[in-house]
């Protein structure tokens, strides 16, 4: 096996609070190969976005983080001074943020914002930048791209702003694209177009794609491998077919069972009982045990380690598909 494009070992992120440091991300390991699509799924608040912000060096001052390894394309990110790291961002690694308002400036036309991005990271002339910006908007499925370059974010629809962010993120041909819920505001036909665009970039340029999404249909259609998170932990990680066919972690299984298209219309949806523990009241033992249907005595006391399981990783003492 070649060395992966991105290698993260034991990533932890904490937030300072009156009650001490709260752990939002705990022991996450990610390996992404060149030209691979890895999807991260997991309950709301499980630490998906925070983990990616840590990688991008974009966490606020109240956050502390650590990792055993964090390498990108052969470069040790942990040893890189912050300035050099920031230079890499936007060019080599770029990110589509979950909410458009987090990365679009309301005071400038969107075309200007894309062109600024190109000016910072490429050698293109200003006419070339204008043309490239228009081309990018068109690729993102925005009709009348030339005119829309002049629009301010508030003059575009939610899904159009989302596509402007996508255009910005792929503008400089990154080696790794982190897409945090990139299609939440898009109808299914445009979503399909965007996913085709991202897949084509993966196939043609060898870009790796880290796709955070809660849409299991998108996962099934797009990802090669899936990593499942729960309360700051990675609980399962494996190839997409195996994960959907025979989920091993009880949380993964429950998540798939809650899919609305597997439930009857207007019936009660099988939500997982209870709520994901907040980062300030995590239980002892396995973090999922209070809501787990397979819970046994040892789950209460001991925290299961993340171990190899078949061709993937699993953090569970009593996985599905084994009787004990």
């Amino acid at each position: 096996m070649s060395t992966p494009l991105l290698e993260i070992e034991d990533l932890c992120v904490g937030f300072a609070s009156e009650r001490g440091t709260l752990r939002a991300v705990d022991g996450v390991c990610l390996h992404v190969e060149k030209g691979e699509i890895l999807s991260i799924v997991g309950e709301s608040g499980s630490g998906k976005s925070v983990a990616m912000l840590a990688l991008m060096g974009l966490l606020g001052a109240e956050a502390t983080w650590s990792a055993k390894t964090m390498r990108f394309d052969g470069i040790d990110l942990l040893a890189l001074p912050p300035q050099a790291r920031r230079r890499m961002l936007g060019k080599e690694i770029s990110m589509i943020f979950q909410e458009p308002s987090a990365s679009l400036n309301p005071c400038f036309p969107v075309g200007y914002q894309i062109e600024e991005m190109l000016a910072a990271h490429t050698q293109l002339s200003s006419t070339e930048r204008r043309e490239r910006a228009e081309e990018l908007l068109r690729q993102a499925g925005i009709p009348d791209a030339r005119q829309r370059l002049k629009a301010f974010p508030h003059q575009l629809s939610g899904g159009m702003n989302q596509r402007v962010m996508i255009a910005m993120a792929i503008a400089c041909s990154p080696k790794l694209l982190i897409a945090d819920e990139p299609t939440t505001a898009l109808d299914v036909t445009i979503q399909a177009q965007i996913l085709n665009l991202l897949r084509a970039l993966v196939d043609e340029t060898g870009m790796a794609l880290l796709l955070i999404t809660h849409d299991m249909g998108v996962v099934a259609e797009t990802a090669e491998r899936v990593s499942v998170m729960y309360a700051g932990h990675q609980v399962e990680s494996r190839k997409v077919e195996a994960l959907f066919d025979a989920p091993r972690h009880p949380y993964t299984k429950a998540l798939l069972e809650a899919l609305p298209d597997r439930a009857p219309a207007h019936g009660h949806l099988p939500a997982i009982p209870g709520t994901v523990p907040g980062i300030d009241n995590r239980p002892n033992g396995c973090l999922f045990h209070p809501r787990c249907s397979r819970m046994q005595e040892d789950c209460r006391a001991l925290e299961p380690p993340l171990l190899e399981d078949g061709d993937g990783l699993l953090r569970c003492f009593h996985p599905c598909g084994t009787e004990s």
Binding site: S44, A102, A192, H214, V240
Partner: protein
Amino acid sequence: MSTPVLEAKGLRQTYVVQGGLFGKRKRLHALREASFTLEAGSSLAIVGESGCGKTTLARILTMIEPPADGSLCIRGIDIATSTSSQLRELRTQIQMVFQDPKNSLNPRRRVGAILEEPLVINTKLSKAERAEKIASMLEQVGMDAGLADRFPHMLSGGQRQRVAIARALMLNPAILVADEPVSALDISVQAQILNLLAELQQRFQLSMLFISHDLSVVKHIADEILVMYLGRIVETGKAADILARPKHPYTGVLIASTPVADPARAREKREAGLAGEPPSPLSPPPGCSFHRRCPLASERCRGEIPRLRRVDASSRLVACHHAD
């Protein structure tokens, strides 16, 4: 129970935008002749291509912006001729959940204060009663009561979205207009929210207008569907009918493009999709807006705009020359 809680007739909206050469101003028709009714205690889902005017319609219905033309009656009161005290009362009865929660929550106020505000302004509840109501609402949307002390930026995307839902429900509104309210939620939390809305609907006759791009959510929650394309309503009727037998070609494509949460089937259907570029509201095509992408398009479709018309014995209306 046949008095509609909301009745829209011929609603239109146009925006003036910078366009063309030399910054000439252009009119953008975001919404054209939208007429429909919403019955008490029922839910209407609005679906359609990104940028087709769904949010624009929602903003008009919630009286955030006035329509350029058309009339709107809420609970029998015509908003064009209502008194200011009637309007104030209506504004508490109709609440909106915005598409981008980050934009709609005040970043300088804590979650608790955000949820308390509508109670302080509109009710005579004591401080303790308000605190109790806030805690119970947070629990109902699946959030730890401890999150009330946080500022919005300290929450995950899905947590912010749930704060926005909780805020809209604080005053027990009669009508909830929700713009992609569950798009950032994982399926288990999504199930919990959908169950909550269904329960409110039964208990308090809550009427809902629900914008969503996720047809499995729509199927689950909607009684009726309204399909929009480039600012126009192209099909409406009972949700079950439309999803089972779409009559407008665009509705058919939407249903066929929905991602399926099954990796084996997903890869086969990848090719199905919509050919051609979406049309632009800045320069709409003549005739039917969909004709350039429609397999049924004929000479008539290129010249004549199809009207919404009844095509069978049901309440279904379709705007297509070829529907029967």
